[in-house]
Each structure stands twice: as structure tokens, then as C-alpha cells.
Assembly symmetry: C2
């Protein structure tokens, strides 16, 4: 098997080795038909394409790293698709690191990356309340990086986020326009920036509608399913909200499950809207109204900034904040 | 920032460097309190933990690779959680490679892995209809690997799958027991082994119930959403099935969307069951009956086999097939 090399394959096909090589690099400058012919011959001869032989020669890994807090999360899935599309069109591979929202793992991953595995990094961070000195290794090694969705205020790099304040305001306003006078806001951590920004949008919309914000209606939840249910139960029966705005998808789902269990009718008894990238929000019972971030575009934009920096040989990405617009999709769950 | 090293941190804390080092390795042999103290001091001093310094010394990457066909897929998300739990308890990192069901990418990833990034590999494959000679690089470099869910028949390694034949048979039987006489089977690719095995379970259940299998009711779909809808429309209006068994989650979702659009009542007009790891199947309209693979356990089992091999210094994993049981969960969508 190891005896078949690219030269033999090229000879057999009557093509140049560079044409054959391009078939395995995902380059778009050869025809689909030629590519197909090359791949079939390669499979038949047992040729093993090795993108990395040439990369080793030019000392480039042609790989970027993506660091995300969670894997089983629709937002990150879609953002990663956006990143991979751009990476592929640049002939790069991606490696995905999942921190499980653990700062220590993030720091360890960054140290690993600093050892030269990759040429650039896209990251959505997990350790806002800690120090971020460990990112210095990237600057030292000239590995540019871009933040997407979750970023560190004190670290200079391009940040790609959605317009969370405006969309949080709009979602709250939407519930109020549909008759809600006691909108509860569900949040995982109101002290991290994304939680704070969304909370502010909610509070301002409540105030601007002439309603009195009630601290008790800001319900801070954990990541534990039983604990969330306990908080929801306590909030619902003690505070009697008529609307719920979930700042993350998981909490919107938890609210649905709680309502299904308790026989609380959505939207008649309780209206619900949530930040969510769930592609089947329309198939839920009832269809869930969502604030949907442009996850794919956020990933693609962040990747484009990174590849621009790589193409220009920059050691870091510009200290800029790029904001993309979320959309509010009204479905049955929030409308009278 | 770079000036703070582990020795300085240990001195400041009055601890040995090996104790401090253990705090960053996730070892469980130091108390949570000590660990917390170390991490806080590290953050305060700007110390950058580098797990890999010691790994470089012992020439181990302490990293395993996971190769999966898809990212935005609940089965793989849960399987990866299972893998990561086991990897973490062994003090290993994981790198995730997503092939997008593309054989060329899989081959390129394997070549990359062969360059020494990782110590072992867990993979769910994408190129069943091609040659698999490129996997030889793993054997050559003594990198053991384990297949989970999707595997190559012609490659020797441990294979961890669910009991797909039995659960496919049971799901079809369940629809028949609920009155269906024309169960359509939706499949993406009936020629790959997982498609074939599940198809066989369906066909045998139909035959064993004394019904005549109808080739037209085996509906082969693509990955394209519009194309799937077209196939469903044609199948529904031409063949008038009274039950649908979707061999993958995506097709169950597509069937739901089609029924919602067309005003076809589930389960009254059409009963639906599908292979699915969707955690919110109960919140769909109506609740979706599922055959649910033990995704987390499959990942954890595959990882355990891999770490056993690594612990024993084996160059490959045993040529064994480990089968775990799926469960059939009856919800509203399939019951009269």
C-alpha cells in the first residue's frame, strides 16, 4: 500500500503530479470530472493522499483550531459549519476543542496550541471571571486569533458577536406588545458579559414600556436540569409571570418541559420566547418563538477575519468589534 | 507573564512542584481545597499551566482524536460526551475532526493523525464504498483505533455499535402492532452496512407479520432538504403509507415537517417512529416515538477499549464487535 506514490498515480492517469495533488487539496481549479477520475484511480490503486507532506515542507500545518465551550449546542454547531466552510475554501483543516465551559481546559488547550499545532485560532471563551495571561503564548508564537460570540474584554483581538442588546430588547418588547405585564427573564450567569448585555436589553424594554422591573423576575439558573426545574417551579408559583424570556436555548427548552409537566398552556397561560438556534423550533408543541443569532454567518465572518490576517502575515487580528444582526421569529408560543 | 513558572508558584504556596503540577492535570489525588488554592494563586500570579511541557518530555501528546461524519448530530454529540468523560478521567485531551461525510477529508485527517498528533483514534467512518488503505498509516505508527457506530468491515479493530437489526425489527413491529399495514422505510443510503442492517430488520418484521414487502415503500432519500421533501411527497401521495419508520433522525424530522405543511395528522393519518437521539423528542408536536441508541455509552465503551489498549501498550485494538442495546420509546406519534 505504501508503495503507490503520487508520481505513479499521475503517470497512470497521464496527468502532472501537481494536477493530481490539487485533486486532494480541494482546489477548485480542476474540473469535477478530472477530480473524480483521479480519486477513482487513487482508490483503485490504494494511493493514500497526504495533504501534509507538502505542508511539512513549507512548515505550515494548514490547520486552524476552534475552541468552543459546548459541543451539543445548536449555535456552536452552526457557527462551526460557517467556520469550516471558509476554512475549506482556504484549503485548511479545523480541529475542534471543547472546554465544557471549564477555564482550566481552555488554558490547557491554548498551551497545546502554542506548541505549534495550528496557524490560527477561533475561540468562544469560558473563563471571563479569571485572568487571561495564558493567551499571551499565542501572541508570542505569532498565532492570530478571533473571538466569536463570547470574548474577553481585556484581550485585544477581533470580536464577532450578534447584536444581543437590541435583540434582547426586541424580544422583551414583543412579549409586552402581546399583553405580558410580568415577564420573567431566565439567565445562566448574569455576571458574564453576554448575560449582562442581554439582561440590560430586557430591563430597558420593561422600563420603557412603563412597567416596574422586579428583581425577583430575573431568575438565575444553573446548568443542572433538576436545579433548573426547581427554580422554574418556585418562580412560576410564587411570582406568577405571564411571559418568559429565556436568554439561552437550554432554558427555553426547560421552560417547555416544565409547562408540559405541569399542564401550563403555552401561550394562553404563559408566553415563551428564547434565544435559540434550534432548527426544529417550528415543530415543537407549540412552535417556539425565537431570537435567532446568525450563527453560520458569525462563524464564517470570524473565519474570514482570521484568514485575512493569515494571508497578510499579520501576527494578530485587528482590535475591532463586528456585530451581526439576530432575527426575531414569531411563532405560536408568544402570540395571543 | 512568562516569568512566572511552576517553581515560583509552588514556593509561594509552600507546596511541592509535583503537587502544583497535579492540580493542572486533573488528577484526583489532591484535595479539592488544595486544588482551588493552587488555581487561585496561579490566576493571581498570571501563571500559565502547560500540561504539555511534561508531555513533551515523555514524548506523549496525551491526546486522542475523534473522527465523526457530522457535527450537528445529536447521536455524535452524545457519543463524544461519553468519549470525553473517559478521556478526561485518563488525563487526556480530545481533538475532534468532522469529515462532513467526505471520504477524502477522512483520509486527509488520518494522514494528519499519522504525523504524530495523537496517541489513539476513535472513529465513525464516512467512506464505506472506497478503499481503506490509508488507515495503514495508523498501524505503521502504532496508533490504536476503535470504530464506533459506523465501521469498515475489511479493517480489523474493535467495533462498538448498537443492536441495529433487533431495534429496527422492533420499531417496525411496533408500527404493525399499532395497526399499520403499509409501513414506509426512509433511508439515506441503503447500500452502506448500517443502512443494510436496519433495512433487513424492517423487511423481516414486515414478512414475519404476514405482510408483503413492497420495494416502493423503501424510500431512499438524499441529504438535501428539498430533495427529501420531494421524495416524501411522491411517496405519500402515490403509495399512501400508514406508517413511517425513519432510519435516521433527520428523516423523521423531515417527515414531521412534511406532515405539518400538508396538514397530515400524526398519528391519526400517519404513524411515525425514527432512530433518534433527540433529547426534546417529547416536546415535539406530537411527541416522537424513537429508537434511541445508547450514544453516550457507545462513546464511553469505545474510549474504554482504546485506553485499555494504550495502558497495555498494544499497537491495535482487539478484532471484536461490541454491541449495546438501543431502547424503543413509545410516544404519541406511533400509538393509536
Amino acid at each position: 500500500m505504501d508503495t503507490v506514490n503520487i508520481k505513479m498515480l499521475a503517470e497512470r492517469l497521464g496527468l502532472s503530479t501537481s494536477t493530481v495533488s490539487r485533486a486532494f487539496r480541494g482546489n477548485s481549479d480542476i474540473s469535477a470530472k478530472t477530480k473524480q477520475r483521479i480519486l477513482e484511480a487513487a482508490a483503485a490503486m490504494g494511493y493514500q493522499p497526504n495533504l501534509y507532506a507538502s505542508n511539512l515542507r513549507d512548515r505550515k500545518s494548514r490547520t486552524i483550531a476552534i475552541i468552543v465551550p459546548e459541543f451539543a449546542n445548536n449555535f456552536f454547531s452552526q457557527a462551526i459549519h460557517g467556520i469550516e466552510k471558509v476554512a475549506r475554501s482556504n484549503g485548511y483543516h479545523t480541529l475542534i476543542y471543547v472546554t465544557d465551559d471549564d477555564y482550566e481546559r481552555e488554558a490547557a488547550f491554548v498551551a497545546d496550541i502554542g506548541n505549534g499545532r495550528v496557524e490560527g485560532v477561533l475561540m468562544s471563551v469560558s473563563g471571563e471571571e479569571y485572568q487571561h495571561g495564558y493567551l499571551g503564548v499565542l501572541a508570542k508564537r505569532n498565532i492570530p486569533f478571533v473571538f466569536f460570540d463570547r470574548y474577553y474584554d481585556d484581550v485585544q483581538a477581533t470580536r464577532v458577536t450578534a447584536n444581543d442588546y437590541a435583540s434582547s430588547y426586541a424580544a422583551t418588547r414583543h412579549l409586552i406588545d402581546n399583553g405580558c405585564t410580568r415577564v420573567a427573564y431566565l439567565v445562566v450567569n448574569k455576571h458574564v458579559s453576554i448575560g449582562k448585555i442581554r439582561l440590560q436589553g430586557y430591563l430597558d424594554a420593561v422600563r420603557d414600556a412603563g412597567q416596574q422591573p422586579d428583581d425577583a423576575l430575573v431568575v438565575e439558573c444553573t446548568n443542572d436540569r433538576q436545579e433548573i426545574e426547581h427554580r422554574l417551579r418556585s418562580a412560576y408559583y410564587n411570582l406568577r409571570p405571564d411571559g418568559i424570556f429565556a436568554s439561552v436555548e437550554r432554558l427555553a427548552i426547560a421552560a417547555y418541559r416544565f409547562c408540559h409537566q405541569e399542564g401550563i398552556a403555552i401561550p394562553a397561560d404563559l408566553k415563551v420566547i428564547g434565544f435559540s438556534s434550534l432548527e426544529i423550533a417550528d415543530l415543537l408543541n407549540p412552535g417556539l418563538s425565537t431570537v435567532t443569532q446568525p450563527a453560520f454567518d458569525m462563524g464564517a465572518t470570524a473565519a474570514t477575519v482570521l484568514f485575512d490576517a493569515l494571508a497578510k502575515g499579520l501576527k494578530s487580528t485587528p482590535d475591532e468589534h463586528i456585530t451581526l444582526e439576530s432575527i426575531l421569529i414569531e411563532r405560536e408560543s408568544s402570540v395571543t
